[in-house]
């Protein structure tokens, strides 16, 4: 996979750089859908329209086969034991790491497996917490936090990229500050320049919002952090599955994403960390498989990534995730991104046509992810979701693990349709047509 400038990666222009890969069409998508058995079913008497990939994506057959093949042919504990199966299991496990690393432009030893993105962020927070207690020695001092230090997040974060930092602040005495969100669901970058200041030690923000679909200007935010010597943590859960992402080109220190949102299985997430930083960080989880020498009172630890992978690993999940990465790479992330950008704009344009329905986040023509969260005036999101489900349309309702953002936008809950490479324009249109019927059904006059 070649590297791409992330902020401009969403638009179809990129497909032109790879003339061998023509932009995706509905015909291509119909072919893609054949690889996803779960999509071919009826729900409440209607063909399933799955528009909840922002929460979790579906698995192609190749991903499920990879997991099954592993269990049928190679299952063994990795990085221990000298028997043939153990060696083979270790090889495919590490090959999976190579593949995922290449997918995001990282080196293999910069990729740490976790259970999910939430655990990846907690790994960072607890490692920094341990560094603040003096663990890891002088080398880890750069991660140590205390009174007077500031951690900066944004008002649009998923709870997974908020609460671990709140807790880290509580444990260390550091202060948590945030970059506010504007009415249109984008970050207030003028304020950002004030919030990120000389006391900022850490800046954690999402690459793309799971609610508003906003794609944040990573370069601009990284520049603010660099100016004050702060570390940068990028939540890439909503972007790695959907856009070409190169962590080196983005120049972030850490990035996290989860397998199940990118056609992979549940139970696996990824932490990327720059090699020189991981090398100095104290471990979070400790135990077997992460040590060199153990005495009754002390232990020495392996180099990254093993230092951060205590206990038996998620082997089959890592291998299945590599199969998901193959599937995405073969399709072409530029094409995936361009297709979803098109679906996203179709959603936004369609929502604008329905009176009494408010779109959260950037409007038509503005770069955004292929999702749309809406508020139907006078109808609670739960009821909207029920009405859509009755028509076989699966969407997410509620606060989508982003209560502060919903509060900022003046709603308690919203209804979100989120697309992926297997969604057609017809499905988007059906969602929009059904959404337009919601208010009349509940007797709300638009």
């Amino acid at each position: 996979m070649t590297s791409f400038a992330p902020s401009s990666a969403v638009f179809p222009a990129h497909a032109a750089q790879h003339p061998e890969l023509a932009p995706l069409t509905n015909t291509d998508v119909e072919r893609i859908r054949n690889d996803f058995p779960v999509l071919h079913q009826t729900v409440n008497g209607h063909p399933l329209v799955y528009l909840d990939s922002g929460a979790t994506s579906q698995n192609p057959i190749s991903v499920m086969e990879a997991e099954q093949e592993y269990y049928e042919q190679r299952n063994a504990a990795v990085h221990r034991g000298a028997h043939t199966l153990a060696v083979e299991a270790t090889e495919v496990f590490e090959a999976a790491r190579d593949k995922v690393a290449a997918f995001v432009g990282a080196e293999a030893d910069e990729i740490v497996w976790t259970s999910n993105a939430t655990e990846a962020i907690n790994l960072l927070a607890y490692s920094f917490s341990n560094a603040s207690l003096g663990l890891g020695g002088p080398a880890a001092r750069r991660f140590s936090l205390g009174a007077g230090d500031e951690i900066v997040v944004t008002e649009m974060e998923h709870h997974a990229n908020l609460i671990p930092w709140q807790q880290l602040a509580l444990r260390t005495g550091a202060t948590l500050r945030f970059i506010p969100v504007l009415d249109d669901g984008t970050l207030d970058l003028l304020s950002a320049a004030d919030v990120v200041g000389q006391h900022t030690r850490l800046l954690a923000f999402t690459h793309g919002s799971n609610v508003t679909g906003t794609i944040n200007p990573v370069a601009e935010l990284v520049a603010l952090a660099r100016k004050v010597g702060a570390l940068v943590v990028l939540d890439a859960c909503q972007t790695v599955p959907h856009l070409p992402v190169n962590v080196k080109a983005l120049d972030v220190d850490f990035a996290v994403f989860s397998g199940h949102k990118m056609l992979g299985p549940t139970g696996i997430g990824v932490l990327f960390g720059k090699a020189e930083l991981l090398a100095e960080m104290p471990p979070f989880l400790t135990g077997g498989s992460m040590i060199t020498t153990v005495n009754m009172q002390t232990a020495e630890f392996l180099a990254p990534p093993q230092r951060f992978e205590a206990g038996t690993q998620r082997i089959s999940q890592a291998i299945a995730l590599a199969a998901a990465v193959d599937y995405l790479s073969e399709t072409g992330m530029e094409r995936v991104a361009a297709w979803e950008a098109q679906l996203g704009q179709r959603l936004v344009a369609g929502v604008a046509e329905i009176s009494g329905v408010r779109l959260l986040g950037p409007g038509l023509g503005v770069e955004r992810l292929g999702l749309a969260a809406v508020d139907v005036a006078g109808v609670h999101a739960h009821d909207v979701g029920q009405f859509l489900d009755d028509a076989g349309i699966a969407v997410r309702v509620g606060h989508h693990c982003a209560q502060p953002l919903h509060r900022r936008l003046g709603v308690t809950a919203s209804t979100r349709a989120s697309t992926y490479l297997y969604n057609t324009t017809d499905e988007v249109d059906l969602f929009l047509a059904t959404l337009a019927e919601v208010a009349p059904f509940f007797g709300v006059k638009p």
Partner: protein, 159 residues
Amino acid sequence: MSDLQQLYQTIILEHAKTRHGAVELAPLAEAVSRGAASGLSVAESHQINTTCGDEITLRVSIDTETVTELVWTGEGCSISQASASILTDTLRGLSTAEARALLDNFREMLRSRGKIEPDEEILGDAAAFGGVSRYPARVKCAMLPWVAFEAALIEAESR
């Protein structure tokens, strides 16, 4: 009637709009002392449905054996709002024992996954929630105010 119409019966959609018993609650301490002056025990319970963020605060006033007043504030889906509205109409004026029996019947019906037909003789308008029992994800919505009532009643009786 489609499943969806069964779930969202007209009476439910009407109550979700009219919200009987929904008021701006005065401070609890004030309500407790005012109640005490007229021989009533007043207590309230705050309940949150963590899956959707719906919440309700329901306040109960009882004399020695009767539910004399029910008021609430909260926000949520039409099922939870209608449930709170119908609860106030249904339970106000009942003895605490009758209210508990009705609550048990309501809960059993809701948790039956559609197997128990609601008994209109016992439940009155609350029988309209029979359709909800076929939607396990929505049972919590309908139960929310009733759980608040149950907790507030215990509290009021202990005062």
